[in-house]
């Protein structure tokens, strides 16, 4: 059970950050985002926004699972960006995550697209 690939706590969660030439901050999330890993995502997003980021793309292409805490982090990000005239787009192709967005009604609040290119376009940069 100590195999990290099957341990539900350390399920190969990882974040990679990238800043495009157009000034968009891209955070790619892989693995599972839950009560234990969501704080990492929250801190990374907060640091990006504090660092001046106004255009944010959260790439969930490699994310297998989001729990409600992770949803809260994404909601918080949108709410933080709103008064700053910022924009956020989410890349997601995972059906269960799409279902979660649907159930919670977040699909009406988030800009959710299939590819990173579409997301960069959605926030207004190429």
């Amino acid at each position: 059970m100590s195999d990290p690939a099957t341990d539900p706590i350390t399920f190969d969660f990882a974040l990679t950050e990238e800043r495009t030439s157009g000034g968009t901050h891209v955070i790619a999330v892989s693995g599972e985002v839950d009560i234990f890993t969501a704080p990492d995502l929250k801190r990374t997003i907060a640091q990006a926004i504090e660092g001046g980021t106004r255009l944010l793309v959260i790439d969930l292409t490699l994310t297998r699972f989001l729990d409600s805490t992770a949803l809260g982090v994404l909601i918080g990000a949108v709410k933080r960006l709103r008064p700053l005239d910022g924009r956020m787009a989410i890349v997601n192709t995972e059906p269960s995550t799409a279902k979660t967005f649907q159930i919670t009604g977040l699909d009406r609040i988030f800009t959710i697209v299939d590819t990173r290119e579409a997301a960069l376009e959605a926030v207004g940069t190429g």
Partner: protein
């Protein structure tokens, strides 16, 4: 806690005090014993020496037993020469004897070697040895300063008798410094000051003292005791320095011995002992003053926190469920007890039943507080008959109450009409309730409304469903569908839960669903990633005898 610490410290101080007292006393007793032993040993050595000198002088005296008794302190010339030869032999052969003399039996000087300073015939019967010989022979004299060389001397006096036991005279052997050498040697050897006094308390020899002066210690209480034949030890001070003294009589001579050791030397183990005991006590006091309050404080804070958590947790659940409503609630232990799931069920004003299951995203006191607030808010709506229709009023509650942008809440609520035939429900970003029909399990996933706290989104759409005989309705939180039946298996998901809604025969079975969810919840709570709430009602919850009869075979009354 103050009382505990105070009591502990008092006990500690008393304990330390007694341990110090006991162990110091033991060490002091032992040290004093050592000094007393030193005094007794010295006394014994002095006695052995004087006995030996007495024996030697006595052997010379026996050589003189065939002398004629002196007349007017004179002897015939031949006898005088023999006497002179014997005195010379005694003086030169016996180590430590500096002069030898002979008196007649009345104490008048007859001869001496070396030749005497005093005239022949001088009456020495006033000397202490003259009287002392009446008691014993050999007799060891007091110390006095010799007339000729002005040196401190002692005299060993032995009676000389003819073979018939008639007194012929007295043989005297004078010694200087023997005792002084002994006390100096002993002092340098053992670091102990030894003082030997004569029978009048005058110093014969004392470690490091002036050998040629007569100093009287007759007033010293220890010398008095030793001269009285007693031995022992005493703490005292000499010249301002604290000392430990032992005293003992020198048997058979009337002399006395004192042994003195500086207290710092005798009790040199005491400071170390004291430091050890005090260090141990200091450690114990540290434990009491620092560690105990820390631990007690932590404990009580943890207890307080648990109390607060439990209070919050209680507020997330109704104090009493209407009969027929079955619920399961587990806070994930991974989330440290306090969850954000909340449930409720209460009669509506028209006699129906309203049910609620909700979930504040997040955990801990803030989530629990918001959950309790939402439950109370919804309860107000439901008791006014608008529990399903006015969820938008709860949006304001979330926006107004929460202090964290990340917090949001989802809920599902339903109302059963008083006749048990109509179900109305509303979803605010919540997983779909399951409706168990006689021949189907349905997820009520439409119409959907958005979660609470995403910014005002207006009233949620309301779904309506006719209820046939034998229905059951299950509401739950995502902790259930995100759970894994076993640690290795996939998350349950809505489809998995719908499968649980069917019994072994494949037919919808509310009792089976309840039992299966309970098994999951009763499994090790540490397997739950999230809090879990589950509420299920069936037609028996509505007091219609016909309905109850219709569903009785499968109702949860049997579960």
């Amino acid at each position: 806690m103050i009382a505990l610490i105070g009591g502990g410290l008092v006990v500690l101080v008393l304990f330390t005090f007694f341990v110090l007292r006991l162990s110091e006393n033991a060490v002091r007793r032992e040290a004093r014993g050592r000094v007393g032993t030193t005094a007794a040993l010295s006394a014994r050595l002095v006695r052995e020496q004087s006995l030996r000198v007495g024996e030697v002088v006595g052997s010379y005296a026996s050589r003189l037993s065939n002398l004629p008794a002196p007349r007017r302190a004179t002897l015939p010339p031949a006898d005088r020469r023999r006497l002179a030869a014997a005195l010379f032999a005694l003086r030169s052969e016996v180590d430590g004897v500096t002069s030898a003399s002979f008196t007649d039996s009345r104490g008048r000087l007859v001869a001496a070697s070396p030749p005497p300073v005093l005239p022949i015939g001088t009456d020495l019967s006033g000397r202490d040895w003259y009287r002392g010989l009446r008691e014993r022979s050999p007799y060891l004299s007091r110390a006095y300063i010799s007339q000729g060389r002005r040196r401190k001397v002692t005299v060993t006096a032995v009676r000389v008798q003819d073979p018939d036991g008639r007194p012929l005279g007295i043989l005297l052997a004078t010694e200087t410094e023997r005792t002084q050498r002994f006390t100096d040697a002993f002092g340098s050897q053992f670091g102990t000051g030894i003082t030997v006094t004569d029978q009048a308390g005058t110093i014969v020899g004392a470690t490091g003292s002036d050998a040629q002066r007569l100093i009287s210690l007759a007033g010293d209480p220890l010398v008095k005791r030793a001269l009285a034949g007693r031995s022992g030890t005493l703490d005292g001070s000499v010249g301002g320095e604290r000392t430990v003294s032992g005293y003992a009589p020198v048997a058979g001579t009337g002399w006395a011995v004192l042994a003195r050791v500086p207290a710092s030397e005798a009790y040199r183990d005491v400071p170390r002992l004291r430091a050890t005991v005090l260090a141990a006590s200091g450690l114990a006091a540290f434990v009491f003053l620092w560690l105990v309050p820390l631990l007690v404080g932590r404990l009580s804070r943890a207890r307080d926190a648990l109390g607060v958590q439990e209070a919050f947790q209680r507020d997330l659940l109704p104090s009493k469920m209407p009969p027929g409503v079955h619920s399961i609630y587990r806070a994930s232990e991974r989330r440290m007890l306090l969850g954000g799931d909340f449930i409720d069920a209460l009669p509506t004003p028209d006699g129906g039943l309203a049910i609620l299951v909700g979930d504040v995203c997040g955990h801990g006191p803030r989530a629990a507080a918001l959950g309790a607030t939402l439950r109370a808010g919804w309860r107000t709506l439901a008791s006014a008959g608008v529990g399903v229709t006015r969820l938008d009023l709860l949006d304001a509650l979330v926006d107004g109450e929460r202090r964290d942008l990340d917090l949001f809440a989802t809920l599902a609520c339903a109302e059963i009409s008083p006749d048990g035939r109509t179900l109305t429900y509303a979803l605010a970003g919540h997983p779909p309730p399951l409706l168990l029909l006689p021949d189907d399990v349905v997820a009520l996933d439409a119409p959907r409304g958005a979660a609470l706290g995403l910014g005002a989104v207006g009233p949620r759409p309301i779904g309506t469903q006719d209820l046939p005989d034998g229905w059951a309705l299950a509401l739950y939180t995502d902790g259930l569908i995100e759970a894994r039946a076993t640690p290795e298996s996939e998350r349950l998901g809505v489809p998995g839960l719908m499968a649980w809604g069917r019994g072994p025969d494949g037919r919808p079975d509310a009792a089976h669903l309840l039992a299966t969810v309970r098994r999951l919840a009763d499994r090790e709570p540490s397997h739950l990633d999230d809090d879990l709430a589950f509420v299920i009602v069936d037609a028996t919850v509505i007091g219609d005898p016909d309905v109850r009869a219709a569903v009785a075979p499968r109702s949860m009354g049997r579960a």
